[in-house]
Structures are given as structure tokens and as C-alpha cells.
């Protein structure tokens, strides 16, 4: 259910809602247009190239290069207990970009534009509700930690 995606989710109803179910099971999914083959991450149901609404899910590696980053100190509503947190924009290997938080495997002083990143699906552990997201980690980090 797409409402699981993110600490605060503003768009629970979307044609690509299954994304969150895949994420909870540990898979990062992009979309591929069945008509023209154009791929997209983040996934989109309606093809940007040929306008077809017929798409399929395709798993992506989550590998990428850090394009830019910032550490947010002043928080918006709903994120007050999480602050400060660092977000990064990553250019993905298969094309497209992702914006996400840095995870535990990367220390603040290691954050550098151009570094290799692995996007990893995550579950918010200490919440009773099911909430999922993805984080920016060192290459080689996996969803199942053992």
C-alpha cells in the first residue's frame, strides 16, 4: 500500500502503489513501458515517451553516484524527531535519479559528491505502523542484514 511509503506520506493513492509492497519485501522497482520500452525510476504508470498507460515492473540494482546532498537541520512538520538528517540525490546506474536519506553505513564526514552509493529498501523499525523507505548506503549493503 503506497501509504506505507515514507515517514509522512502525502499521496497514498497512485497507479504505482505496488511500489511500496515491493519495497517492504526488499525490492527496488522501476517501471518499463510495455509499448516502447522506456524505463523510469521513480516508476510512473504513464509513459513519458509514448504516452501509453501500459507498464510493467522491473527490478533495479539501486547502484548510483551521489550528485549532491544537504543536511537538514530545520525540520518540517512530522519530521521533528528525526532532525538532523542528511538527504542526497543519486544518479542511478540504470538511469533516473533518487532522493533519499543517508543510512547507517555512511558516516557524515564520508559524504562526498561523486561517491558510489547503494540504494537499500528499509523498514521503520521502532514504529508500530508499517512504514517503508529506501536509504543511501555503502555499496554492498543489503536489506537483510545477516
Amino acid at each position: 500500500m503506497f501509504k506505507w511509503f515514507g515517514k509522512v506520506n502525502y499521496s497514498p493513492y497512485t497507479k504505482v502503489g505496488e511500489f511500496a509492497d515491493f519495497l517492504k519485501a526488499g525490492h527496488l522497482m522501476g517501471s518499463r513501458c510495455k509499448q516502447c520500452g522506456a524505463q523510469s525510476f521513480p516508476p510512473r504508470a504513464d509513459c513519458d515517451q509514448c504516452m501509453s498507460g501500459d507498464f510493467e515492473w522491473v527490478e533495479i540494482s539501486g547502484k548510483g553516484i551521489l550528485h549532491t546532498h544537504t543536511k537538514i537541520v530545520a525540520a518540517p512538520t512530522g519530521f521533528e524527531e528525526l532532525v538532523p538528517y542528511t538527504i542526497g540525490v543519486v544518479d542511478l546506474e540504470e538511469g533516473g535519479r533518487a532522493l533519499a536519506w543517508f543510512g547507517e553505513s555512511i558516516a557524515e564526514k564520508e559524504v562526498k559528491i561523486g561517491m558510489a552509493i547503494q540504494l537499500v529498501p528499509q523498514i521503520f523499525e521502532e514504529l508500530e505502523e508499517i512504514k517503508v523507505y529506501y536509504s543511501l548506503e555503502k555499496p554492498g549493503t543489503t536489506w537483510a542484514k545477516t
Partner: protein
């Protein structure tokens, strides 16, 4: 093709206006503009309101503002494109006059922001990016510009101090502007000591939320020539967009929408960047002004830091920028900003800017950005 000119201007005091409703704020600058133009309200054919409705408790703003201004039963509607709403209103009025539908239109940019708390404003503004894939990570408006700043510093070596130089300049001029929210100069020490908002942007890199309103009266060439001898002409009007999502921008060191809008405006006005003597650009953050110097062609790509460091943006430099204090010192009542910028440039081109006058200013420019660059409006104004 016939020109469209600005024959009247009005500008209220920007700040925390808990003494007035948004329509009362609008009235202040509207009345000034009507008097400045030497017209009567009945001479107007229509009005367009630029404002961002989500910040107000009042629903459907345009109607209540226009009613208070005494313009019922003339046509009115709202234009909204985030922080560029004021310029969108101007463009709408310009299009109506150019098309011959109306002869004289009032444009009012008005905004109250302080009806909401700071975290509410932060959350609302953070949603001006892509809500589905970005806002869930707690993005904020400063965070987006911080992402641009980090990349700009990485690619071009722009420094922390160069960013603050922009703020220092704008506060220097803001101190001379009675309509500005902040009227004191600041020092590099004070700026460096300010709190971090989103690395590398600190409090002194960020413009402040404010309440306020500004108004201009536009007229067709024929009416303008008949009514005024100090008409300032809207000779170049550029408008372009960029993707809402930073994930789909071609680069994160400048605004593609600004570059495109500027090129369109220059072409229409028959000038290039070097002709512009004075400009008001959208410095919601210091980095935004540096990117604007580059996007508008005042300097080469990547040399924005050098431009401010060499004082080219001061009066006496290549192109004076934000000598009314910019968003930084004036404050940023988002719907009003585009109109406020236009009022300032009109003053400059009329020679009415007093201590802040750019000598010999005949061509001016406004650069008004919506959100994190989704929308950009560039206007080239000329005094004959």
C-alpha cells in the same frame, strides 16, 4: 505590434502585518498605484490577483480582494505559480491588453504568510517539490536550494563567503528601503555565526517569510501615451518551466527555466544581457542570486561567485542587482514579490529611486521564480 506600459505603481510595507487582512494590505498599494497613475478606479477594465491561496484562511482570495478594492463588477481571477504568482498575474494582464481584450488592468500581488506557524510553513513549502517521491523524506524549501548550492560549490568552487556577500549587499541596500522588512546592514561575522538551516545554507542565506502587497497599473500603448509621460514599457516577456522534481532536471547548478525565459525576453525586447543596467532577481536564497547572474547571462556559467565578489552587482558594477534589498532584505510575501520587483524596476527607470538610483538606467529586468525553479518569468522593461 503595440506595446504595453506600466503607468502606476504602489508598494506597501513588507513585514509581519498582523494589523491587516490580505485585502486591507492589497488596498494600501492599490490606492497608491491608482493615485500614481492619475486615474480613477472606473477607468480600469479588470484586475488580476497574484497570490498563493494555501497560506490564507480566506478561500478564493481574488473575489474578496477585488471587492474590498471596489472593483466589482469588473472581471477578476487569481493566478498561482508559487513564488512567481505576481509575475503570472502581470503576464496575464499583459496578454489581455496585447490581445486587445482590455485597455487598462490593475495587477495586485498580495500575500499573508504569518497566519501559519514556521513548521507549518516549512512543511507546506517543502511540498513545492515533488510530493510523491521527495517530500516523504522531509524535504524543505531551503534543502532544495542547499542541494543546488552543494553542487555549485563542488563544480565551480563557489565559496561560503561569496554566498554571504550576496546577503551583505542586499541588506546594505535594504537599509535604504523604507518598505523593506529588514532595514539594517549585516556583517560577514554575523552572517557566519548564524544558525544552520540546511547545510551549507544558514539563516543569513535565507529570505524571510513576510506579509505584504504591491500593485501596478498596466495600459495599452494608446492609453499609456495619453495618460502618462513616465510610462515604463514591458518590452520583453519571457516565461518557461522546468520539471517539478529535482530528479528530472538536466543539471542542478542553475535553473533551466530562468535561462529559457531570459532568452525569450531578451529576444522580444531586442537586447542582450549587457544592455540591462538594473535588475531585481529572485534571491529566495543567496545561492539563487548567484545562479541568477549566470542564468541571465550577466556573467559566464560558474562565475557567479566572482561576480558578487568583484562587486559587479552593486550600483556602479556591470549590472546592479537587487538594489531594493531583494527578497533577502524586503522579505518574501510570495504572491507579492513579482509585482514588488516590477515596481522597483519601474522606479529605477523613472529615476525615482533616490539614494538607490542606478545612474542612467534605461533598461531593467525582473526575474521571478516559482518554487524551486518550476516556473520562471523574466521581464525586460524599458524607458524611452
Amino acid at each position: 505590434m503595440s506595446r504595453v506600459g506600466i503607468i502606476g505603481i504602489g508598494h506597501g510595507v513588507f513585514g509581519r502585518r498582523s494589523d491587516a487582512t490580505v485585502q486591507e494590505l492589497a488596498f494600501e498599494s492599490f490606492a497608491d498605484a491608482v493615485r500614481d497613475a492619475g486615474i480613477e478606479r472606473k477607468d480600469l477594465d479588470a484586475s488580476v490577483i497574484g497570490s498563493v491561496p494555501e497560506y490564507h484562511k480566506q478561500r478564493s482570495l481574488a473575489g474578496v480582494v477585488q471587492e474590498y478594492l471596489g472593483l466589482v463588477p469588473k472581471p477578476v481571477w487569481l493566478t498561482e505559480v508559487a513564488c512567481a504568482s505576481g509575475s503570472a498575474a502581470i503576464r496575464t494582464a499583459w496578454m489581455a491588453i496585447k490581445a486587445g481584450v482590455h485597455d487598462m488592468v490593475a495587477v495586485i500581488g498580495c500575500q499573508k504568510m504569518t497566519e501559519l506557524s514556521t513548521p507549518e510553513i516549512l512543511a507546506l513549502m517543502g511540498r513545492v517539490g515533488e510530493v510523491q517521491w521527495e517530500s516523504i523524506f522531509g524535504t524543505t524549501f531551503p534543502a532544495y536550494y542547499a542541494l543546488f548550492a552543494q553542487r555549485h560549490m563542488h563544480e565551480f568552487g563557489t565559496t561560503r563567503e561569496q554566498l554571504f556577500e550576496v546577503a551583505i549587499k542586499n541588506h546594505f541596500y535594504g537599509a535604504m528601503n523604507p518598505a523593506a522588512l529588514f532595514r539594517k546592514a549585516i556583517t560577514m561575522e554575523k552572517a557566519c555565526a548564524s544558525e544552520m538551516v540546511s547545510d551549507p545554507l544558514q539563516v543569513y542565506d535565507c529570505c524571510a517569510n513576510a506579509d505584504g502587497a504591491a500593485c501596478i497599473i498596466l495600459a495599452s500603448e494608446e492609453r499609456a501615451k495619453a495618460l502618462s509621460d513616465k510610462t515604463v514599457w514591458l518590452d520583453g516577456m519571457g516565461c518557461a518551466t522546468a520539471s517539478m522534481s529535482v530528479l528530472r532536471r538536466p543539471q542542478l547548478t542553475g535553473l533551466p527555466s530562468a535561462e529559457a525565459a531570459a532568452n525569450e525576453a531578451y529576444k522580444m525586447a531586442g537586447v542582450d544581457a549587457s544592455a540591462v543596467k538594473v535588475a531585481d532577481v529572485h534571491d529566495c536564497f543567496t545561492i539563487a542570486e548567484i545562479m541568477a547572474y549566470e542564468d541571465l547571462g550577466f556573467c559566464k556559467k560558474g562565475e557567479g561567485g566572482k561576480y558578487i565578489q568583484e562587486r559587479q552587482a552593486y550600483i556602479g558594477g556591470k549590472t546592479a542587482v537587487n538594489v531594493d534589498g531583494g527578497l533577502k532584505a524586503k522579505g518574501h510575501p510570495i504572491g507579492a514579490t513579482g509585482v514588488s520587483m516590477t515596481v522597483e524596476i519601474v522606479k529605477q527607470l523613472r529615476g525615482e529611486a533616490g539614494k538607490r538610483q542606478v545612474p542612467g538606467a534605461d533598461v531593467g529586468l525582473t526575474h521571478n521564480v516559482g518554487g524551486i525553479g518550476q516556473y520562471c518569468f523574466v521581464q525586460v522593461l524599458r524607458r524611452d
